[in-house]
Symmetry: C2
Subunit: 272 residues, 2 copies
């Protein structure tokens, strides 16, 4: 493990990328993003498409986090600050004592992802809530989604809270922006995928979906759901529920639908 | 609709139950709880087991919320305060402008709920996170769970955040405390239910569960899951996932499992 570089001054220019994290969540930070906590940072260090530019660690965590920190490449500096200095840098109390600044190193277009013929694809239209987007990424990783397309109205999956809720799945599941919702569905169809649209008004129970060769699940926002014109371009399915209560959260919906689609692919699909 | 009672002084004793909401989230507020926002308050007003003792509304919302407020019983006062006064009462900015103070009016023991022979039962052991508990209640309502048992280590479903995340399902789905996890499983079995335990180490894929007459899904906490001794007393099932990623969130897990168990009950079970 490399030696940590000690930071005593919150204004030290070497750690400027960690200044005022919340303000810059809102203002944006260009190509970079903040990864919090061990689980997310572990995904960052393993990612093919993102890399860490620096870590900032509370000095009293250096010993307990030595295994993780041992995996940090030599050219990525590890800064250590007293918890109190760290909190002043960041602007609030970082109780996990562990942050990384990450950058995207590979940018994809939808066709770059679809050309590899991924087995299970997920398209998102209008997911504007960071918790929901993070939860959907988490489920996508759990069920082996190999490519995700996001329409232009989805929020940013690298936003700090989305990344945290995803437990780092945003850094693992390859994804690309795909223009409008209509563009997204068109690209799926042109690449040979069968779009499966989820809606409370869907025609078939998702449990009766049978076998589909190249399904692409398409989800809309909680509340409005997929616009009717888009839904009409998909095989529409529904999740049967008890009447008289609010619909499911969209992240939960994605978990149920991906569980079913994984089965629709046939046994052993992901255990080659 | 009754006339709203105007509050100008944050120290007015009539609205003392709304003072310093966050502090009292932590300290507890005896038998009462705070319900936030239209969706949750609507469930409170419809509940058989809970009732509103008072509402506090931002004065500029009275007109737009008139339909909801029209459903408030005559003996439940509606207090209206300027948003700025409301924020001072509560201790932070209430952007929905709508609060109720609720109380439980019916307390159940597990046997009170199970004697009615509910079709689908859910048992929770060690769910200590309010977001997860709220999410599980939301899914339980969506899939028609008719009774829930909570072991003594589950957190409080009436805690403000759990209630909000549940979109009011906590006020709809009947639930009872059931002692230890072992007590909980014993009560299910004695009442004629088949406990189905969910675990990544479960024996059967949950999709292969077949038909079960009186299933009771039993869920443990995210991370540790159900203790092995409890799991051994259940029919254990798993949700197959892609390898190499963190497990699903426990609320999402509950959604997938309830979706499957609803199907295991047979078509039309909930559409009598």
């Amino acid at each position: 493990m490399q030696d940590a570089l000690r930071i005593d001054d919150p204004d030290d220019p070497r750690i400027a990328m960690f200044l005022n994290v919340r303000d810059r969540d809102l203002a944006g930070r260009g190509a970079g993003f903040i990864a919090e906590g061990e689980v997310v940072i572990r995904q960052l260090l393993q990612s093919r498409d993102f890399s860490a530019r620096a870590l900032l660690v509370a000095a009293d965590r250096l010993a307990t986090k030595s295994e993780l920190l041992g995996g940090v490449p030599e050219n990525v500096p590890v800064y250590a600050a007293a918890q109190e200095v760290m909190d002043r840098i960041v602007g609030f109390h970082i109780h996990r004592g562990l942050l990384a600044f990450g950058e995207r190193v590979a940018e994809f277009r939808p066709e770059d992802l679809l050309v590899a013929r991924p087995r299970l694809v997920l398209g998102l239209v209008g997911i504007g809530n960071h918790d929901n987007l993070g939860g959907i990424f988490r489920n996508a990783a759990a069920f082996g989604v190999e490519a995700m397309l996001l329409d232009d109205t989805c929020c940013d999956p690298l936003y700090r809270k989305a990344l945290r809720v995803s437990v780092g799945a945003v850094l693992k599941v390859r994804h690309a922006r795909a223009g409008s919702g209509a563009d997204l569905v068109t690209r799926l169809v042109e690449a040979g995928y069968a779009p499966v649209g989820l809606s409370p008004q869907g025609r078939d129970d998702i449990g009766d979906i049978g076998t589909i060769d190249r399904p692409a699940l398409v989800l809309g926002a909680e509340g409005p759901g997929l616009p009717p014109a888009l839904l009409a371009q998909t095989r529409s399915v529904r999740i049967d529920m008890s009447g008289g209560f609010d619909s499911l959260n969209v992240a939960t919906t994605s978990g149920i639908a991906l569980h079913e689609l994984r089965r629709a692919l046939g046994a052993g699909a992901f255990n080659p």
